[in-house]
Symmetry: C2
Subunit: 229 residues, 2 copies
DNA sequence: TAATAAAATTTGTGATCACATTTTTAGTTT
DNA sequence: AAACTAAAAATGTGATCACAAATTTTATTA
């Protein structure tokens, strides 16, 4: 593990506490899929890699265990959460229940500049699919969603959605790598149109469909073929 | 704070880690409303009250902050989460989205013995309302719900619902004390009937209605009157 | 050589310490 | 009595230590 991880995360900023920096860094590694499902991590390993004491790492790991992103084994070791079909179905339900609502609560705060950013990210997302660039796909897909959600004043749904993404992103990175970007072709036109027209109901429906269809594709590709994860 | 808190939580059991015991104990204090919204707590205070070192308390508090049950103030002090109307609305949406689905996933595992327990708790809940016993109301209302949910094999929705209950229970305890048990009259007949008939759709609908109506009452009683919390 | 046992190392956990920041208390001034 | 200031205490944070349990490595035996 060593210092390789340090190269993959942003440097700590002036007034950021060590604990918060470790948290954000671990989140990044989970969301990008650098941490893969089932991967074992250790407190001292992370502390050493990030060149900090184990204390902030311990508290951070507790947070991530609480958020379902990390799991404790029977022998109290720590590993990255794995996703089976039942868990996938639960995440599926939670996503389609919470994300559309979250997006509509973000709508009032999405101005023209933000919309332009969202459109820009969507174009990059499309390009990543065409070019078969898995890392880019994962990054821009997440950015597309969170450029919207982060405009919401939410203090309940947003953390819940965050924890869902922490839980399934390592798995999704593996999935997209396995099935290819092409099958994940994403149609965001109606999402973007609803945003530009300030249509909250339309946005909820568009995003519901978008999430539903993406998740169905994964479910079909990974679990219906009885492919081992 | 001192040792009063110790008297209000279960003793630690043999193979329970200190950290887990502290977590369960703090959860209990939140769920019963012993910890009230906005209440300040300190790591050393809890450690002293529970007669443990601050270490397990720190890790536990991180979990609870992550779960939204505790919050950090601007000056990095720790307090019990408060609920304003926006937050209440978010919790409302999350509850009606997740709890019915969770209940239906519990249904296959609810046998006659469990159903009998649920009916028993419902009767105690009714009695608490009639007798105006706020503590009992809070306890049996929670038990009613979780006797159902804990039969679910859920690993995603159940922790999410748990964290929702941790977030709003201190608030609800205050609410019920303020408005009285009578206004919280709860009709669980259709919930129980759906369970006894093994009717998953009916259970989802009954529970949705139950939660919806309870939350609407609170919203009306507390926020429409502009009563300060 | 393979299996087993013992030793060494790793790992998570709880305890303790020191430090920077925040809050409270005590003393002084108006 | 109210306001202000300084000192003391409290608080969260990061660092470090020691211990029990789990895992890995090494040595011994069949």
């Amino acid at each position: 593990m060593q210092n390789e991880l340090l190269l993959k995360v942003a440097k700590i900023r002036g007034d950021t506490s060590v604990k918060e920096w470790v948290y954000q860094s671990l989140c990044e590694l989970l969301l990008t899929g650098e941490f893969t499902p089932g991967m074992s991590i250790t407190l001292r390993g992370i502390a050493e890699a990030f060149e900090v004491s184990p204390m902030p790492v311990r508290e951070t790991v507790q947070r991530l265990v609480s958020e379902g992103a990390l799991e404790l084994t029977e022998t109290r070791r720590i590993c990255v959460a794995e996703i089976n079909e039942d868990k996938f179905d639960e995440i599926f339900h939670a996503r389609v229940s919470l994300e559309p609502k979250l997006a509509s609560s973000a709508l009032p705060s999405i101005d023209d500049k933000a919309l332009k950013q969202i459109i820009d990210v969507d174009e990059r997302l499309m390009r990543s699919i065409v070019e078969g660039d898995v890392e880019e796909y994962v990054r821009y897909n997440r950015q597309f969603h969170f450029l919207i959600y982060h405009h919401s004043p939410s203090v309940v749904l947003l953390p819940m959605v965050n924890s869902l993404w922490l839980q399934f992103s390592p798995f999704m990175r593996v999935v997209v790598g396995r099935v290819g970007t092409q099958v994940m072709m994403d149609h965001h036109e109606s999402v973007i149109e609803s945003i530009s027209e300030n249509d909250a109901q339309g946005l909820q429906k568009a995003l519901y469909n978008n999430i539903f269809n993406r998740m169905i594709i994964v479910k079909d590709e990974i679990f219906s073929h009885d492919t081992p994860t």
